[in-house]
């Protein structure tokens, strides 16, 4: 449902944007600085295949998660813009 572009709608857009940034930012921190650095020792006690889990996060897992995070963000923002009628017109 498209809504008229008013400052109230822009307010909603910005609030939703910040909410998603916070959610995805927490995951971003958890998989990299969390699983890859701060909690790497306990996670290394878990072995999956030939990988210690903490080591895997630091050298593989964090990177894969980053990719997913960016595409999720791009997706939710595109949907939000459509819902609020804030899509840009291509120049």
């Amino acid at each position: 449902m498209e809504q008229p572009d008013t400052s109230a709608v822009r307010e909603i857009y910005w609030r939703e944007n910040r909410r998603w940034m916070l959610i995805l930012g927490v995951i971003w921190f958890t998989v990299s600085l969390g699983c890859g650095v701060l909690w790497v020792e306990p996670l290394n006690q878990i072995q999956i295949g030939g990988f210690k889990l903490g080591f895997w996060f630091a050298q593989q897992g964090a990177i894969y998660t980053f990719i997913v995070l960016i595409f999720v963000y791009a997706g939710v923002m595109a949907r939000l813009e459509k819902r609020l009628g804030l899509e840009e017109t291509e120049v």
Binding site: D5, T6, S7, R10, Y13, W14, N17, M21, L24, G25, W28, S32, L33, G36, V37, L38, V40, E41, N44, I48, G49, G50, F51, K52, F55, W56, A58, Q59, Q60, A62, I63, Y64, F66, I67, L69, I70, F71, Y73, A74, M77, A78, E81, G85, L86, E87, E88, T89, E90, V91
Partner: protein
């Protein structure tokens, strides 16, 4: 055909491709020169960004840094830091600067902070970050030429300069974008082919990312075997050896992440796509293309390290006789990247963590990638491909940096500050001249590298994190931050970071002028100079916010600008 001949053919073909692209994509307007006409498809821009991003350091040195210097786990700082920054870039920076819709990063800072001084300070920060970075690329070009094509360093550097000059001066961002796409294809092919072969040989698994977690021919896991072998030789375990301390690892990773999101040559790539939406997806594609190399690199690191150890000690206790060492070993000794010294005069090579006993006295980081195809006995064309890939990585990053530098000079200093009345034609001419000057300047610095050239790439990230990122972030997310706050903040951030680096590494890196000594006990909470950017960024934030409290709010027009860039749709009010 000899190896050198094959290399000449393959490198020559890749250069011809870059020149053909350059001729087809000349820039006719300033919009084309600065932002490629804003018509680049997000996937294509993702590829160009990946090539822009992955430098000679990523291609040639990173696997070795991880596998040798940082002994495995410690090297994770580069892997997480140089990819995690893209999440920040995609969420916090790129979409809003794309909406802003002009040409350069200092231009945004100048407009948002309603001040020519802010713009000039941003130009200075940009030049400091980009110049430290570009010297490393010029050196990379010279070294790659001299190693693979057996030219001398100067000839190699000069050839690289001619190529960059050609497509960067002619085509600006437009020419650079299309050549970067071609360079990405060359470099990623060159990186993954040897990795797939080495993974197959060691583990029977063609995908290196999975091979890293697979078993070897003897049934033990590759990483377990590497851990045990290194412990036996007196090193720390590969999968758990921390760089410095946990705090240092976290600070290093965070500095590289924040720096990534603040480096102008990366940010301006997102000005070339048609929409805000495209800027976000383009960041995702860029990371996909970067991740292909960045998830392969740790596999190359571990596998090549194990291969070298097993070459030197094929069976436990049975060391390689010096007489019987393979040809690749002798070849790389001649370049000075490998060196042996038979300390106990038994005619065999003992590799050990103990410097007293270690007979592999030189083992350069770069050897892991450069000698990889030879160690795995791959055909000559693969070795030649690695040369073309290393050159593609260095050239593409150098071109991106040079564009960031030259557009800051011709657009921000000249057009926006000193001579606002020049016409578009004159500005286009000025931007070509600035580009030509930047190429020559970078070439000069590559020929006469100042003392600080070694290891400056990581430093460039620290400087970008401490200076430009906070100004950009606060400029978008706060309407209150004032010009005084931003100017003092940028100067404080870059100042404190440079001071910390200088006091440990020497003034302008001249050895002997460091007043605290490069000693870990003197490091601030054990944080090494390369990892200090995050502290510099924190100082910048604190200073900016404090000064802002004491100074008047920005004018109404600036608050409207901020409102406007936050939302993709063109504002219908006012």
């Amino acid at each position: 055909m000899s190896l050198t001949e094959t290399t000449y053919w393959i490198v020559g073909a890749s250069f011809l491709l870059y020149i053909l692209i350059a001729i087809r994509s000349r820039a006719g307007t300033t919009q084309e020169f600065y932002v490629a006409g804003k018509g680049i498809h997000p996937v294509a821009n993702g590829m160009a960004t990946a090539a822009d991003w992955m430098s000679a350091a990523s291609f040639i040195s990173m696997a070795g840094l991880i596998g040798l210097s940082y002994n495995g786990y410690g090297g994770s700082v580069f892997l997480m830091g140089w990819t995690g920054g893209y999440v920040i870039l995609a969420m916090l920076i790129a979409p809003y600067l794309r909406k802003y819709g002009k040409f350069t990063v200092p231009e945004f800072i100048g407009d948002r902070y309603y001040s020519d001084t802010a713009r000039v300070v941003a130009v200075i920060c940009l030049i400091i970050c980009s110049v430290t970075y570009v010297i490393g690329q010029m050196k990379g070009i010279g070294v790659a030429f001299s190693r693979f094509l057996e030219t001398d360093y100067e000839t190699g550097l000069f050839s690289g300069m001619v190529i960059v000059f050609f497509y960067a001066v002619l085509g600006g961002m437009k020419g650079i974008t299309y050549t970067q796409i071609a360079q990405f294809c060359v470099l990623i092919f060159a990186y993954t082919v040897p990795a797939i072969f080495i993974s197959l040989q060691l583990t029977g698994q063609p995908i290196p990312q999975l091979g890293l977690g697979s078993t070897l021919a003897d049934g033990s896991y590759l990483l377990e075997k590497l851990d045990r072998t290194l412990l036996d030789l007196g090193f720390q375990e590969y999968t758990t050896s921390v760089r410095g301390s946990t705090l240092n690892m976290a600070a290093f990773t965070a500095s590289l992440m924040i720096g990534t999101a603040g480096l102008p040559h990366v940010i301006i790539r997102f000005f070339t796509v048609p929409t805000v939406r495209a800027a976000r997806t383009s960041a995702g594609w860029a990371l996909v293309f970067i991740a292909i190399l960045y998830t392969t690199a740790p596999a190359v690191a571990a596998m090549a390290r194990l291969n070298i150890i097993q070459t030197l000690e094929p069976q436990p206790g049975k060391h390689l006789a010096i007489e019987e060492r393979p040809t690749w070993f002798k070849n790389w000794e001649q370049t000075g990247l490998l060196g042996i010294e038979d300390k106990n005069a038994d005619g065999r090579i003992q590799y050990s963590a103990d410097p007293e006993q270690n007979e592999l006295v030189t083992l350069d980081n770069d050897i892991l990638v450069l000698a990889n195809p030879e160690i795995a006995n791959l055909p000559n064309w693969v070795i030649a491909l690695v040369a073309a890939g290393g050159l593609a990585a260095a050239l593409s990053t150098a071109a991106g940096l040079l564009l960031a530098i030259s557009s800051a000079i011709s657009h921000d200093l000249l057009k926006r500050t000193l001579m606002p009345d020049i016409s578009e034609r004159q500005e286009l001419m000025a931007s070509r001249l600035a580009m030509a000057a930047a190429v020559l300047g970078a070439g000069y610095l590559g020929l006469n590298p100042p003392g600080f050239a070694a290891g400056t790439v990581a430093l460039a990230f620290g400087l970008a994190a401490a200076s430009l990122f906070p100004a950009l972030f606060l400029g978008i997310f706060s309407k209150r931050v004032s010009r005084e706050g931003a100017i003092v903040g940028m100067l404080a951030g870059i100042g404190v970071t440079l001071a910390y680096v200088f006091q440990h590494k020497g003034l302008m890196f001249i050895p002997g002028t460091s007043f605290l000594g490069d000693l870990p006990p003197n490091w601030f909470f054990g944080i090494e100079p390369n990892a200090f950017g995050v502290v510099g960024a924190a100082v910048n934030f604190a200073v900016t916010l404090t000064v802002t409290r004491l100074t008047p709010s920005p004018p109404e027009s600036v608050q409207q600008l901020v409102d406007d860039i936050r939302v993709p749709a063109v504002s219908r009010e006012g």
